[in-house]
């Protein structure tokens, strides 16, 4: 197994800040917009961006929720069961501009489920997608992000891991390539 650093903690911070300014370009003061982090790992991206937006906009009222998509997956009964996480949406979605936030965008199936899960809370005016990492050329569905932290080219057997200061000790993005320790 090989582990390669894709984004260091210093560049990680710059990337998050850049995403925030891109969001502000389209959402002004965020009074009509809301962030929705997808469980389990997208919530950390959403919360970090919420935190950053609060300090940039000097506004404490940036809406941010957690959305679990387990019950909306299209592979239920086809693979091992997944333990659901919590959903917490303490605001009205109706007529809001909603930004779905995930850490790694791969096949796009999670996002499809996320869009279904989202509509259970009402009809948003617009839905956008923010992905911290975009694994290019690997989509199973016609889904593309509106905001991209970093784009990486990977093959299907590889894995992209995002570590967070809050839970893993450091902000960083890693590319894991399976294989023998000592390649021939």
């Amino acid at each position: 197994m090989q582990k390669r650093l894709v984004l260091s903690s210093q560049r990680f911070e710059i990337t998050i800040k850049r995403l925030c300014y891109q969001l502000i370009e389209n959402h002004n003061d965020f009074s009509e917009s809301a962030l929705l982090g997808l469980q389990p790992r997208g919530i950390y991206v959403a919360r970090r961006i919420q935190h950053e937006l609060k300090s940039i906009l000097k506004n404490e009222n940036i809406l941010c929720g957690d959305l679990d998509i387990t019950f909306f997956r299209d592979d239920y009964r086809r693979r091992e069961m997944v333990i659901p996480s919590t959903t917490q949406v303490d605001f009205i979605i109706e007529n809001k501009k909603v930004i779905l936030v995930d850490d790694v965008l791969f096949t796009g199936r999670t996002i499809r489920a996320g869009m279904d899960a989202l509509t259970a809370f009402g009809r948003p005016e617009k839905v956008e997608l923010l992905a911290l990492v975009d694994r290019r050329y690997s989509r199973h569905l016609p889904i593309e992000p509106d905001y991209i932290g970093i784009a990486v080219d990977t093959i299907a057997s590889e894995k992209v891991i995002v570590d967070w200061k809050e839970i893993d000790g450091e902000d960083s993005i890693w590319l894991i390539t399976p294989g023998k320790e000592h390649a021939a």
Partner: protein
């Protein structure tokens, strides 16, 4: 935490591990949030067909199961014995196999005979959920009762629960005893000696015949309905005498000097097990039980359906 149930059918609480019950509860927490959304439906079981077979009357349980099934997007067929070929002499296995030939994945069954759910699980190729088999078990009721206690107190372990009334004919009592004991609660049964099964002390529960002493001991009183339809002979001299000895009134509760949470599996005989002022009081969590029933049944069906294939 484990990811799936250790059983393929839900026949009784007796077959479940503590970990199974905890998995059902944590999944039910998620479904409780789902059923409080503006749109209370998820697509998880859209490729699953469920048959509800009720060989015995039921309002609450059947409605609760049906709502749970529909909110999981399952296809539902209903069957009531009174309007079926059972009255023409068809056997249980034939009835069920005919239904299964129409490609049904899960059967939810209530039947007057104890053991009928187990019998069915051995002879037909579908997953069985027992919705009450005679005086044997009613597992989803026990799960929702314990879930409601957990919601009220934050835990089940160490809580003192008194089950009051007709223990002899009650599948709710038996399932509740198994469930509460597995989760570490203390259980007492209280009722007249004629409505107490002979083996009851072998289940490791306290037995009490004095209602006041039971209420002084417990944190939660689960008041069972007097099942007049299961009593072919008279087990107590008169209903009036039963009410005087085993009916809970607001006055009695107030005189205890401590709060006791009141539960009832329904349907209530108002003025018999509990008076109206108790049923509608802040101490009663009867309607919470009904709400939790849908979440618990969604969790059970979701977890069982995930095991197919």
């Amino acid at each position: 935490m484990q990811h799936k149930l250790s059983v393929r059918h839900l026949l009784g609480i007796k077959d479940l591990q503590k970990e199974d019950i905890e998995l059902i509860f944590s999944t039910a927490d998620n479904f409780k949030e789902v059923i409080n959304r503006p749109i209370k439906k998820v697509p998880s079981l859209r490729d699953v067909t469920i048959a509800n077979l009720f060989f015995e009357n039921s309002t609450r349980t059947r409605l609760s199961f049906e709502l749970a099934e529909r909110r999981l997007s399952a296809d539902v067929v209903n069957f009531a014995a009174s309007s079926s070929s059972v009255s023409k002499g068809e056997t249980l296995i034939d009835t069920v196999n005919n239904i299964l030939a129409m490609k049904v994945d899960i059967v939810v069954m209530r039947h007057p005979h104890p053991g009928s759910a187990l019998f069915l699980s051995r002879h037909v190729n579908a997953q069985i959920v027992n919705a009450g088999d005679g005086a044997h078990e009613h597992p989803t009721q026990a799960l929702l009762d314990a879930f409601s206690i957990r919601e009220k107190f934050g835990r089940v372990e160490g809580i003192k629960v008194a089950i009051v009334g007709d223990i002899l004919h009650s599948r709710v009592a038996l399932s509740n005893i198994f469930c509460l004991q597995k989760l570490g609660a203390e259980v007492m049964v209280c009722g007249p000696t004629t409505l107490m099964p002979k083996y009851i002390s072998s289940l490791g529960v306290k037995v009490e015949h004095d209602l006041r002493r039971a209420l002084e001991w417990c944190d939660v009183a689960n008041m069972l309905r007097i099942q007049l339809e299961r009593q072919e002979i008279h087990y107590f001299p008169s209903l009036r005498e039963y009410i005087m000895l085993y009916g809970v009134s607001g006055k009695l509760l107030q005189s205890l000097g401590k709060p006791v949470t009141i539960m009832h599996p329904g349907p209530i005989n108002r003025g018999v097990e509990i008076t109206s002022d108790v049923a509608d009081s802040a101490q009663s969590i009867i309607l919470d039980q009904v709400e939790n029933g849908v979440a618990i049944r969604m969790a059970v069906l979701y977890l069982l359906a995930g095991q197919v294939q």
